[in-house]
C-alpha cells in the first residue's frame, strides 16, 4: 500500500535532499516540490524516495503519532524511511 513517511530535511543539494526520521537517513528527491520553498528543517511526506508534499511540523508530528500507535501493536514491524513496512507475520 502507498504509505507515506514524514521526514525532516537535513541537507539540500539541488533537487536532492538528505532526509531523516527516527535516526534513519535517506536520499530523497525534491523534484515534485522544486517550485516550493523547501529548506533544512522542513518536513516532507516521502514515498518511494520522492517527496510528495511539504508538511507542517504539526502534520508530521500527527502522522508520526499515528505510526507510533501502529508500532505499539504487537507484531507490527517498524516503518522504514523509504515509506514501507516490514512484512507482518501474524
Amino acid at each position: 500500500m502507498c504509505l507515506g513517511i514524514p521526514m525532516q530535511v537535513i541537507h539540500c543539494e539541488g533537487v536532492m535532499a538528505r532526509c531523516c526520521t527516527r535516526g534513519v537517513e535517506r536520499r530523497v528527491s525534491l523534484f515534485l516540490l522544486q517550485h516550493e520553498d523547501i529548506g533544512i528543517g522542513d518536513y516532507v511526506m516521502v514515498h518511494r524516495g520522492e517527496a510528495l508534499q511539504k508538511l507542517t511540523p504539526a502534520e508530521a508530528a500527527e502522522a508520526w503519532a499515528m505510526y507510533d500507535e501502529i508500532l505499539a501493536t504487537p507484531g507490527t514491524p517498524e516503518p522504514m524511511a523509504d515509506g514501507s513496512f516490514e512484512a507482518t507475520k501474524n
Binding site: 527516527r22 500527527e62 501493536t73 514501507s84
Partner: protein
C-alpha cells in the same frame, strides 16, 4: 530500528534461459495488515486516518472508508457529499496518473530531459488538484463549483502540455502529440519486448459480492493475495477500458494509452460534475451492507478497484477492518503481471532488466519493486 533490508517492496525474480524468460516469480514484503490497527477506534476516526496514511490515494481510501463505515452503522450519506467525494477521487486519480506515468517510469537515459519537461506541468497539476479536492470537500455550492471549474483549466492544461490530446475526433485512444513527454514514453513502451497475451480479466462491480465474501472468510490472506477461483484478475485503467481498439495496439503501448484514456475520462467527469453539481457515480463509488454491523466501500482509484470492509460493535467502534488494494491483484504471484512475463520475447540486444522494469511500470504498482535476473543453471 534496523534498515538492513529493503522491505515493503515487490521482488520480481526472473530466470532466463537462452536469453529469454524461463520462469518468473513475485514475492511481496508489503504490509497488508495495517487495517487491524483500526480495531477499537470509533468509526468516525478511520476516514481521516486512512487519508493521512496512504500518500498516493488518500482521497480514494477516505471515500472507501466512509462508505464502509456508513453502511456498517446504517447511516445514509447525502448525495452532495458523495458527489464531492467522487470529485476528490477523480481529481486525485488524474494527478496520480500524471505523477505515476512520469515519476515512476524507468526512463533510462531520457530521464533528465523528460523530468525537466514535466516539472512545471506536474507542479501546476498538483496545485489545481489540491484546490479541487479542498473545494469539493467543502460542498458543491455554486461558488465552490466555479472555483473547481477554474482549477480544472490548469489541470487539463498541464495534462495537455505533457502530451494528452483531448479532442474526441482524435480517437478514443488519446495518442500523445508528437514530441511530447508522453510521446517519448509511448515510444519506449515497446522498445525491448514483444508479447501477446489474452484480454484482461477485469475486476468489476459484478465481482464485489464474491470479493467481500472472500474477504470476510479470510481477511488477512485475501488482503495479501486476493484471487477468485478460476480467474486471473486484473484491475486498473487497462482492465476497465480494454476494447478492440486497445487490443489493436501492442501490449505495453495499450496499457499506457489506457491510462491516458482514463485521464481524459476523469477530466470530462470532473468538468461535468463541477458544472451540474451531480455525477454518475455508478462506476466509481459503490458500497453496501455486508451483514449485521458490517459494511463495505469500493472505489475505482488510479490503480484500480479498492475495497474496504468494516465491522462495528454496538458502540460504533471498529471490531474488524480489512483493505484490499489494487496492486495485490495485479502483482499476485499467479496474477496478470507474472502471466505476462511468461509471454515476453526480448528483442535482440534488449536491456532485459530495463525492459522488465518498464513492463512492471505499465502495471503501475503503488510500491517500489526490485528485479532480479538469473540464468537457469542448465540452460
Amino acid at each position: 530500528m534496523h534498515v538492513a533490508s529493503l522491505p515493503g517492496t515487490l521482488e520480481i525474480d526472473v530466470t532466463l534461459a537462452h536469453g529469454q524468460i524461463r520462469s518468473a516469480d513475485i514475492y511481496s514484503s508489503r504490509n497488508t495488515g495495517l487495517a487491524s490497527h483500526f480495531i477499537g477506534k470509533t468509526g468516525g476516526e478511520i476516514p481521516q486516518r486512512v487519508r493521512q496514511l496512504f500518500s498516493l490515494c488518500g482521497q480514494a481510501q477516505m471515500a472507501a472508508a466512509r462508505m464502509a463505515i456508513d453502511h456498517a452503522l446504517g447511516n445514509a450519506r447525502p448525495r452532495e457529499s458523495m458527489v464531492g467525494a467522487d470529485l476528490g477521487v477523480q481529481a486525485e486519480r488524474s494527478l496520480e496518473i500524471l505523477r505515476s506515468c512520469l515519476l515512476f517510469w524507468p526512463w533510462g537515459d531520457a530521464r533528465q530531459t523528460a523530468l525537466e519537461a514535466a516539472a512545471a506541468p506536474l507542479h501546476v497539476a498538483a496545485q489545481a488538484t489540491n484546490t479541487i479536492i479542498t473545494k469539493a470537500g467543502e460542498g458543491l455550492g455554486s461558488a465552490n463549483r466555479a472555483l473547481i471549474l477554474a482549477a480544472l483549466d490548469p489541470l487539463q492544461g498541464a495534462a495537455q502540455a505533457l502530451g494528452l490530446t483531448l479532442d474526441p475526433n482524435e480517437g478514443s485512444h488519446p495518442e500523445p502529440w508528437p514530441g511530447s513527454v508522453f510521446a517519448t514514453l509511448l515510444a519506449q513502451c515497446d522498445q525491448d519486448i514483444f508479447l501477446a497475451v489474452s484480454p484482461p480479466d477485469a475486476l468489476t462491480a459484478v465481482d464485489d459480492e464474491a470479493v467481500i465474501a472472500a474477504l470476510q472468510a479470510d481477511p488477512e490472506e485475501f488482503a495479501a493475495r486476493p484471487a477468485l477461483k478460476g480467474r486471473r484478475i486484473e484491475t486498473g485503467a487497462y482492465a476497465r477500458l480494454w476494447d478492440r481498439e486497445l487490443a489493436g495496439t501492442s501490449f505495453q503501448a495499450g496499457r499506457f494509452l489506457a491510462r491516458l484514456r482514463d485521464l481524459r475520462n476523469c477530466l470530462a467527469t470532473l468538468r461535468g460534475a463541477a458544472k451540474t453539481g451531480d455525477a454518475d457515480m455508478s462506476t466509481s463509488l459503490s458500497g453496501g451492507e455486508a451483514g449485521p454491523g458490517q459494511g463495505f466501500g469500493v472505489v475505482e482509484c488510479a490503480r484500480g478497484r479498492l475495497y474496504h470492509l468494516a465491522s462495528v460493535d454496538a458502540n460504533a467502534c471498529i471490531k474488524a477492518y480489512a483493505i484490499v488494494a489494487p496492486t495485490e491483484w495485479n502483482f499476485h504471484p499467479a496474477g496478470p503481471f507474472v502471466e505476462a512475463l511468461h509471454h515476453v520475447r526480448f528483442a535482440p540486444g534488449a536491456q532485459r532488466a530495463t525492459a522488465i522494469a518498464r513492463m512492471a511500470a505499465t502495471f503501475d504498482p503503488c510500491t517500489a519493486f526490485e528485479i532480479t535476473l538469473r540464468e537457469a543453471a542448465h540452460a
